[in-house]
């Protein structure tokens, strides 16, 4: 039982990393007022470019950098279409996912079934070697790949950027009320470009982490819906980095649990209605049923958040989905 629990905790931490990276990126993009539904596509491109580069150069770090840049390049298409050409953000994002899926399936064939060394797990410096031996949480917390740590470090970094810097204020201003921001002299278009491209870089990094540290393989469609989960997570986290971290562990925990849930079949006995409760519990623990939870939770949070927005509390950026154009005389 302890072994199983430790396995689930370890798998949760590992499953959370791509979700953390991708949702942080989407938070930046959406806070700037641009929804990007292309996360899945950008992650796939990041994963393939990262893998191919690592295979060619032998260095996972170069691969990770190239994967990140590839995600940013994909996002640049979205930025040009939505910010400069004022295209519909939904349709452009869906296009990006189609494009990423198609391109990586098309060009990825020759990379399937090749293997790389990728990122090795390393213990946290100084305290790591001593703490890895901790029961349950030791390996999960203190022995991970460099990109796992990077993702964790980026949570406070993005929080700082958004809430403690003047650029963060400008991003919020541009996402809430671009007209007012423009009047105040904030370069609306430049800030939005930056947010979208940065968001793409994070998504590319999430994909590169998948192929370089998580599976160390390239598999067609290997993101397996994580990009959509990341978009759900942003709403679940109500556009806040720290809540995204918590949400990533929740959603990652579900993913980890789903893979192992056959091992768990709790039975209740000795109380009234034991059989009914048993039936309900085992239904709720079915892998496919559990896989629905992140999406259902997102809908519930969205409904609650929408009501709060009506109560003038913080929620979605007000100008999300609104393309900005200056009035021309």
């Amino acid at each position: 039982m302890v072994g199983l629990a430790a396995g689930i905790i370890d798998a949760t931490v590992r499953a959370a990393t791509p979700l953390i990276l991708a949702s942080l990126g989407e938070i930046i993009s959406e806070r700037g007022g641009v929804l990007n539904l292309g996360v899945e596509g950008m992650m796939l491109v990041g994963a393939l470019c990262g893998f191919a580069t690592t295979f060619t150069t032998g260095s996972p770090w170069i691969g990770f950098a190239v994967g990140t840049l590839a995600g940013a390049a994909m996002a640049t298409i979205h930025a040009v279409l939505c910010i400069s050409l004022k295209a519909d953000q939904v349709i452009s994002g869906v296009m990006l996912t189609l494009l990423g899926t198609g391109l990586t399936t098309y060009f990825g064939q020759e990379w399937v079934s090749k293997s790389i060394d990728g990122f090795e797990t390393v213990a946290v410096p100084v305290v790591g070697d001593a703490l890895v031996g901790l029961p349950l949480v030791g390996p999960a917390l203190f022995e991970n790949t460099p990109t796992d740590y990077l993702a964790l470090a980026l949570v406070p970094a993005v929080g700082y950027l958004l809430f403690r810097t003047s650029l963060g204020l400008e991003i919020t201003a541009v996402g809430e009320n671009p007209e007012a921001a423009d009047t105040m002299g904030v370069p609306v278009f430049a800030v939005r470009y930056l947010c979208v491209i940065l968001g793409g870089a994070f998504a590319g990094a999430a994909g590169a982490h998948l192929s370089l540290a998580f599976s160390k393989l390239w598999v067609t469609g290997m993101t397996a819906g994580r990009g959509w989960i990341a978009i759900a997570l942003v709403i679940f986290a109500q556009w806040r980095p720290w809540r995204a971290l918590v949400g990533a562990y929740l959603f990652g925990g579900i993913e980890a649990f789903v893979l192992r849930s056959q091992a768990l079949d709790p039975t209740v006995t000795g109380i009234p209605l034991a059989e009914t409760i048993d039936g309900v519990v085992s239904l709720l623990l079915r892998p496919q049923v559990m896989s629905m939870y992140p999406y259902l939770a997102t809908v519930v949070v969205l409904v609650l958040a929408t009501r709060r927005v009506l109560d003038e509390q913080v929620g979605a950026p007000s100008a999300l989905l609104d393309n900005y154009s200056r009035e021309t005389e």
Binding site: I77, V94, M95, L99, G102, T105, I231
Partner: protein, 363 residues
């Protein structure tokens, strides 16, 4: 700097006719041209590959019938996106509604004992109701609570897909061995065939006509269009916008659900968790390409069906991944939304003299 040029972007007052009719054709040609580069990258002759793709598909009976069969779910789900789009709503969850329709259609086909004349329409109806209910959720949330329908329809898609995955492993499992599939439908629940195709082709055609009449000839259709162009003005003019929102998403969901039931009864013969190659997502470019009318949705659905069928014969003949079709789809959207910009705005280059500041007032 003594001077320079500046791009001047101004809103067009009216769109020239050549731009309106030329856009879909030019975007498709542009997408094919760019994808030709991807073909060259894998060392394939693009002209030959495209010839296989289009000529080979459209000149054989097999190719044409396959195209028609593929077009059925694409047209129906395309309409499922098109109708809400008329009202200004994005239904990007047609895939989930399709799954719900497939689930309920399969269940009725397996569990109701009736002759085909009754059973097939009943299963179609059941599928449409299930898809409609799946659309009712985002519809009500949008109308009553103002909850963004994009996210809700998207999230419910994944719930629907997982639901099918659960059912074929649990209550509806009927395959031999451990395969996650339902039992095979009885003969009574197979769609009647019309030569090489099934009766679903007629259903898709009738649905297109019905939506065309609904949008163009009825008060409801007029209210949908008014709501789509300006919901506030529609509200002031006495249109029940909440009702319109619920209606378009329920009707759209029903069309997608119908597509699911037809796909199972006409092609698959049993429910599989991965029976759809993303019809409900391809429906989005279909609706976008055909956003100006139901018959254009029909044409766009047929075009994408040709791509899919032609893509698989190209894969066989040239050993290139059929995923090129997805790239072409994405490029069609990309060029289409770029062209949309040039339709709305006129771009001209103006020379500006930066040395002279703007003349002060009064001179």
């Amino acid at each position: 700097m003594t001077g320079g040029y500046e791009l001047d972007v101004s809103t067009r007052e009216d769109v020239p006719a050549w731009l309106v009719y030329g856009t879909p054709v030019l975007t498709v040609l542009g997408a094919l041209a760019v994808s030709g580069v991807a073909l060259l990258a894998l060392g394939v002759d693009p002209v030959g590959a495209y010839e296989t793709m289009f000529v080979g598909t459209l000149t054989t009976e097999f190719g044409v019938s396959q195209t028609l069969l593929r077009a059925v779910p694409l047209v129906l789900t395309g309409l499922a996106v098109y109708l809400p789009l008329r009202a200004g709503l994005w239904n990007i969850g047609a895939e989930g509604q399709l799954y719900l329709g497939a689930i309920v259609g399969t269940w009725i086909g397996l569990n109701v004992d009736a002759p085909g004349v009754v059973l097939v329409p009943l299963a179609c109806l059941g599928g449409a109701v299930a898809g409609g209910l799946w659309g009712l959720i985002p519809g009500l949330l949008r109308a009553r609570r103002g909850v963004n329908e994009i996210i809700v329809t998207l999230m419910l898609t994944f719930v629907g897909v997982e639901l099918a995955g659960y059912l074929v492993r649990g209550p509806m499992r009927g395959g031999q061995g451990n395969f996650p599939v339902s039992a095979v439908l009885p003969d009574a629940a197979q769609l009647p065939s019309l030569g090489p195709v099934h009766v679903g082709v007629v259903v898709a055609l009738l649905a297109t006509v019905a939506i065309r009449l609904l949008v163009g000839q009825t008060v409801t259709g007029y209210e949908i269009t008014v709501t789509g162009s300006n919901p506030d003005a529609a509200e002031r003019a006495g249109v029940d916008v909440e009702w319109v929102y619920v209606f378009v998403l329920v009707a759209g969901g029903a069309l997608a659900g119908l597509a699911g039931a037809i796909e199972i009864m006409g092609i698959q013969e049993r429910l599989r968790p991965d029976f759809s190659p993303g019809y409900g997502f391809t429906a989005i470019p279909v609706a976008l390409l055909g956003r100006n009318g139901a018959f254009r949705v029909l044409l766009a659905g047929l075009f994408f069906a040709v791509l899919v069928v032609g893509g698989s014969s190209m894969e066989l003949a040239y050993d290139v991944p059929a995923a090129l079709v997805e790239v072409i789809q994405a490029l069609v959207i990309l060029f289409l939304i770029t062209a949309e910009f040039f339709k709305r705005y006129r771009i001209s280059v103006e020379s500006v003299d930066r040395t002279t500041p703007a003349a002060p007032e009064g001179t």
